[in-house]
């Protein structure tokens, strides 16, 4: 760990990827993640690594497929409409069990939407997005330092489980600056070799990368293998944060940017004597259902707050069931709920 630097979220994700040993980065420009692309454009070639501004989002994710299949750490980044275009490739990457990192700096939607921060791609990220029965590991950072840490983690998890990992952040996190201590860089040459990768069939049988089995029994087996992997990940990799929940009567469930904003809400509420806590999922897939279920047994209300019309809310209700009230408060269109507006909502549920 080095000195404390004041850096933008987009820059920190890019720099963390470089330090994680990312050797190939492919992307297409889109706001509000342009600084990420620009950081890579400047720094990857200096390190003798690959930066390509692809002709399209579809090409960028396909280049990721090729590089991942060739066994190197690789990443692409975009924002909502661009991530929609990448879904074809993401499904193939998931089907072919290829490790890579995909960053979505979410903006308002649907359609062209706007470039303001939003969490409206939660369903797309956590419930599929592309075609077929698959999942990504989805990590939701709430601060700039955490964006860096989770980017490093994303590369580790991707390799460990041979799975695409998505960083789901938003324009606010991408644009804001915060003090960060960057991690020590990993030398890509020190990473374990991938014996399944297409590195040349010298002295071994050919390695084939594919997401394709014509025979239904074979495709079923491929799916069973994927599901087995997803179970292992669910058992081992769930991450979340609880803040001031020990004696809480009300818990706010919020992820990412809203998660951190709700920390301020908890402080404000407690200053007024209202016992509020925060439950912040860090892995959005696999979702921390069990910890939230346990927590819901000790509170009367779990208030979901999102910058969407209520997407993670579905997972909260699955976890909480009838054990507590599950109201929702959200904003759409790129509007960020302020601490005061959330506090006012919390107060409606005080008993």
């Amino acid at each position: 760990m080095g000195e404390r630097l004041l850096l933008r979220g987009n820059e920190v994700i890019a720099e963390a990827a470089i330090r994680a040993g990312c050797q190939c980065y492919f992307a297409y420009p889109i706001t509000p993640q342009a600084e990420l692309l620009e950081h890579m454009a400047l720094n990857m070639p200096r390190l003798g690594r690959t930066f390509i501004q692809a002709e399209s989002e579809i090409a960028a994710i396909s280049m990721v497929y090729g590089a991942a299949g060739a066994g190197v750490r690789t990443m692409t980044s975009s924002s909502s409409p661009g991530i929609s275009l990448k879904q074809e490739g993401i499904s193939y990457l998931a089907g072919a069990s290829l490790p890579c990192v995909i960053v979505n700096i979410v903006r308002g939607g649907p359609g062209l939407g706007n470039i303001a921060p939003s969490q409206c791609d939660y369903f797309q990220a956590t419930k599929g997005g592309g075609h077929g029965d698959y999942h990504l590991i989805v990590l939701g950072p709430s601060t700039v330092p955490e964006a860096g840490e989770l980017t490093m983690l994303a590369f580790e998890l991707a390799d460990q489980y041979r799975i695409p990992v998505m960083i789901l952040a938003d324009g606010l996190l991408g644009q804001m600056m915060e003090p960060v201590e960057l991690p020590d860089p990993i030398d890509p040459a020190s990473l374990p070799a991938k014996d399944w990768a297409t590195t040349g069939a010298k002295g071994r049988a050919p390695n084939i990368i594919l997401s394709f089995e014509m025979d239904p029994d074979d495709l079923k087996q491929m799916n069973l293998d994927l599901q087995s992997k997803y179970r292992t990940i669910t058992e081992n990799e769930i991450r979340y944060e609880e803040y001031e929940t020990e004696d809480a009567d009300i818990v706010i469930a919020a992820h990412g940017t809203i998660g951190r904003i709700c920390k301020s809400v908890v402080r404000m509420a407690r200053a007024e004597g209202i016992k509020v806590g925060l439950f912040r999922p860090i892995t959005l897939w696999p979702y921390p259902y069990e910890p939230l279920k346990r927590l819901s047994q000790q509170v009367h209300t779990v208030l979901t707050v999102e910058m969407s019309a209520g997407q993670m809310w579905e997972d909260v209700r699955l976890a909480v069931a009838e054990r507590a009230a599950t109201p929702f408060f959200g904003e759409t269109g790129g509007i960020v709920p302020t601490p005061r507006s959330i506090l006012n909502e919390v107060k409606k549920h005080v008993r």
């Binding site: 497929y65 090729g66 590089a67 590195t199």
Partner: protein, 252 residues
């Protein structure tokens, strides 16, 4: 008359770079010839152990089965982008994509053009049979005017569906490509010439000269509803008039 096997000389055998798996192609289709040519070229250049092939979507989706090389099977049309990713990740590998006309010249148009424009040091084998074979004989971007397909049942009407696209000529306008050529396989002479072209394309990559594209006019007797012999005649007499043979670029 009984053959004396012991005195026979072996003059023809399966290329060493191909596996024993049987082709899944229809009788009379040229995919088998092209695969064999690639196998021979890998033998001659001694590159099979450092080659990665790209299997597209279409009739050649299974092409990863034929080579003793590593392969990646990829999304429809994205072969040139995937090839870019592989080659940039590991420049020491020899990377080739094998793509039909729908894959290369329709759904993959952007990927195909931009990989060529970047001068990616890869080899593209573009198999142009003017039809979508695997999905049931639909119109391809290269389908001839008036040609009947299952989606142009009255023949391709250019007022509705445009004209056959000469993709190699488009690629040839770019500054980066090292080698762009169109070949055919309707007789032995042209098979020999195609073999030379494929070898040159791989050789250029080995030498780091950059992007090469070998378009090969191929047949689809099944969906053309012709015999293999009729198909060869059709290529020789009709198709080559729309898609003339020969080198378009050679910057070697």
């Amino acid at each position: 008359m009984s053959a004396n096997l012991e005195n026979m000389v072996k003059v023809f055998e399966r290329p060493q770079s191909l596996t024993d798996a049987r082709f899944t192609y229809c009788p009379g289709c040229h995919h088998g010839i092209i695969t064999r040519i690639i196998g021979n070229v890998m033998d001659e250049l001694g590159i099979v152990e450092r080659t990665v092939g790209i299997a597209p979507v279409g009739c050649s989706v299974f092409s990863y089965l034929w080579y003793k090389a590593d392969s990646q099977q990829v999304p429809h049309g994205r072969a040139c982008a995937v090839a870019t990713g592989i080659k940039r990740a590991r420049p020491e590998l020899i990377v080739f994509s094998y793509q039909g006309d729908g894959d290369f010249a329709s759904i993959g148009t952007a990927e195909s053009i931009h990989a060529a424009n970047r001068g990616e040091n890869i080899t593209v084998i573009f198999v142009n049979n003017q039809i979508y074979g695997m999905t049931g004989g639909e119109m391809a971007p290269t389908t001839l005017v008036d040609q009947k397909t299952t989606t142009t049942p009255e023949g391709r009407d250019p007022r509705v569906a445009g004209y056959p696209i000469r993709f190699s000529e488009m690629i040839a306008t770019l500054d980066a490509p090292a080698y762009v050529t169109r070949q055919a396989l309707f007789d032995t002479k042209h098979i020999m010439e195609t073999t030379k072209a494929v070898k040159k394309a791989f050789q250029y990559q080995v030498e780091g000269k950059g992007y090469s594209l070998v378009e090969i006019l191929s047949t689809c007797p099944t969906n053309w509803r012709m015999s293999p012999v009729q198909s060869n005649t059709h290529v020789a007499e009709t198709v080559t008039k729309v898609f003339p043979l020969g080198d378009l670029v050679d910057r070697g």
